[in-house]
């Protein structure tokens, strides 16, 4: 219990530091949102409209410390203000509208990559020097080191345009409305395949290699020899004895990655025109949309810290050494 409380205290401190940075960093950026909008409109807006827009957006010129106090208060009460780049939509609504797709895409891709990558890693280490061990790691690392943008474009051309197997864009077919029907779910599934697959392809190599390396170390442990000497089935030794002990680093990285999923997959969203938080964050940064930027960063920070906290708790369960110390 003391361990949990100590970790909780640490996370609260980390949270405070990150929200303070979150407040300060956008304010170090030069310019203001309205003049950005003006520059981007490139002479479609008249200079007279600018002061008026500043009023409309309610941009404040209060002292920074007052803004900071209000900001903390707003975070405590869950108010994130109104997005400027989506004016007059509240930030919470902008994020809520996107986060579902981001979680669907990122979560699916991460789960597939982790499960398949770890399984491959376990098998490769178990049959060390075998077919799986000598072919897969170099191939996967090679593919994973391609620029993602290029790979995604290539997949889009090959599977989308040439073969026509998968739709080219969006999360579901234009003209249909979201609903709980088998047809719509299948439509969403089809639209998910290419974006998720490209993410899996570039990330799976890392998971496999990490798992393989820890497995190899574990395989040399005395208790594996002991288990073999007892005559246990090889699959039992592989999964219950070796893999189980080699899992710990993978759990940590899984937790970290899970937290970052809410940040969205910017390049995937750009190539496949898939909805999500990543592009909103880019647009917010480019348009100096402070409220939306802060809202998204806050969501990411909170998610990363929360998942890490969960991982810490799971560790207590998984690794007895943590409990003792």
């Amino acid at each position: 219990m003391r361990f949990v409380l100590r970790r909780l205290g640490f996370y609260l401190l980390a949270f405070w530091v990150s929200i303070t940075l979150n407040f300060l960093l956008p304010r170090f950026m030069p310019g203001d949102p309205v003049s950005r909008m003006f520059a981007q409109s490139q002479s479609r807006m008249t200079p007279e409209q600018i002061t008026q827009l500043q009023q409309l957006f309610g941009l404040d010129d209060r002292p920074v410390w007052r803004q900071y106090v209000d900001y903390l208060g707003n975070i405590a009460t869950g108010q994130m203000g109104i997005s400027i780049s989506h004016f007059p939509t509240p930030v919470t609504e902008v994020i809520a509208g996107q986060i579902g797709w981001t979680l669907l895409l990122g979560g699916t891709a991460l789960l597939v990559a982790v499960v398949v990558g770890n399984l491959l890693g376990i098998l490769a280490a178990w049959r060390r020097g075998g077919m799986l061990d000598s072919v897969f790691p170099p191939v996967l690392v090679f593919v994973g080191s391609f620029p993602y943008f290029w790979l995604a474009m290539g997949a889009l051309y090959f599977f989308g345009v040439m073969l026509g197997w998968f739709p080219l864009r969006h999360a579901f077919t234009a003209g249909s409305a979201p609903q709980w029907s088998g047809q719509f779910v299948a439509d969403v599934g089809m639209h998910l395949v290419l974006p998720a697959l490209t993410i899996v392809v570039v990330s799976i190599g890392g998971w496999m290699l990490a798992m393989r390396n820890t497995m190899i170390a574990t395989n040399a442990e005395d208790y594996i020899v002991m288990a073999e000497a007892k005559g246990l089935r090889p699959t039992r030794i592989m999964f219950r004895y070796a893999a189980r002990n080699a899992m710990l680093p993978a759990v940590t990285s899984f937790g970290m990655s899970l937290g970052f999923v809410v940040g969205g997959a910017l390049l995937t969203e750009v190539v496949f025109a898939y909805p999500g938080v990543g592009y909103q964050l880019l647009a917010a940064v480019q348009g100096l949309d402070y409220p939306l930027m802060q809202g998204i960063f806050l969501t990411i920070t909170a998610a990363v810290l929360f998942v890490n906290f969960l991982v810490d708790l799971v560790y207590v369960r998984l690794d007895p050494r943590v409990r003792v110390s």
Binding site: L53, A174, P178, A273
Partner: protein, 557 residues
Amino acid sequence: MMTRTTRSRRAARLAGLALAAALALTACGPGASDGGGTVASDVPLTIPREDMGTFVRNFNPFSPNVAPMTQQAVYEPMIIFNPADGSMTPWLASEWTTSKDGKDIVFTLRDGVQWSDGEPLVAQDVVTTFDLQKELLGGYEYLDSVEAKDDRTVVFHLTETYSPALSELGQQIVIPDHVWSDMEDPGKATNEAPVGTGPYTEVTAFASQSFDLGPNPHYWQPDKQQIPGIRMLAFAGNDGANLAAANGEVDWAPQFIPNIEQAFVARDPEHNHYWFPPTGAMISWQLNTTREPYDDVDVRKALSMAIDREQVIDVAMQGYTKPADCTGLSGGYDTWRDEDLAGSCTWTTRDVDAANALLDEAGYARGADGTRTLKDGKPFTLKISVGSTSSDWLSVADIISQNLADVGVKASVDAPDWSAVTASYEDGTFDTGIVWSNNAPTPYQFYRGVMSTQTVKPVGEQTFENYHRFGDEKTDDLLDEFAASSDEAGQHDVVERLQAEFDAQAPVVPLFPSPEWGAYTDARFTGWPTEDNPYATLSTRAPTAVLVLTSLRPVQG
């Protein structure tokens, strides 16, 4: 410098070839085959929007982030100005007159126009429109009051004679009084089911990445609603939108498509076309005239003469526009241009010898190593600012800096994020930079923005035009004369003298007018504007888009 650019050019060409090859390969795939074959009569006109990853259901025309096509298909203005041929089309107003002293403008509304809910269009709608516009977004400082004389007559009382008012007032889109006057907070309303006079007002489907607009049941030109509707698709960047265009899945592609001949036209030469009229804002190289040596007109002209505009257009702009001349006017002002002056320009064509002579004469001597020094003995170097995301303008700046080496001036390109660049423009701390300009129906706003003392703010104070801070009193007088003259011949005379003043002063170094991007396929719909029939531009964000929407008709068969 030279080799780097050549190499990157070659890389770009290779990438273009690879793309073209990929596209050529895909031409035999199943994706392409449904391009021209089946023409369903209920397929809406499909348009991509490349800079919105998702749409928000916001049809409030006063909102800066309004859903696309709101100001084109849902609401309409009283007059439509077309920069492609310089014409004015009466739209919601059938006629207008200006009083003798120019202080009253009377618009007569077209008879029989109805809102999409069946209510008639009345003068009070226009009055409410201007009240809201002034309250929410400002502008129209010259407007004293708006009066609804009777149901069809609106009188605008101006505080002083101001001739650009007619086109500015006329282009304001009109909203219905009976809907907006009861609205609690019109600035923050999202107006999810808009009531407008436009041809396509009914939101028939709305999802985060696409929405459909259906025909207005009470449109005043029912014979011109030939297309079944409009479908907007959201894209988080040009690549996705360009792929959709190349694949024949969208009808109208108003975004920039690099290498368009191979990437788009070659996919279906019979149906895919593009037209980039140079009617956008003039793009200039601005020199901060509060600094030495840019306060010297000879230096500005000499630097301008060093630039190879042909190279700038061919390489950086892929040949999609044309070089500027010494009137500074973009292609949208061809009817105002003084052709004699434009034909005899001295400082907007490359002439290295003349540039060197001018700089020598102005007292910026060239040293033994070929570089020039300023009058205070420091080397003549300059920094060209441009936003890092604008790759085309970045390459414009690169070419300029190479050109300047020929006249002994060392230029470096400074390319941080646009926000840093515009911030330095606004407070006047930049050295030189690539910049846009005001683009309105008459050249008045352009000249006011580049050379009037009224737009000059001291360094350190934020401004949104005349970043280079150049003011000329003769220009002020000419602008006042223009504003006070209500007859067209008089206005043309003043604009000719403004052009001569621009030529004499060279307040900025004009480079090229920005093209109005636009590509389309006539596989499903025909009647598009072209170079031979420039009744509108192909921009989907310009007021002329409604002219295109009411001219298109489905292909028969």
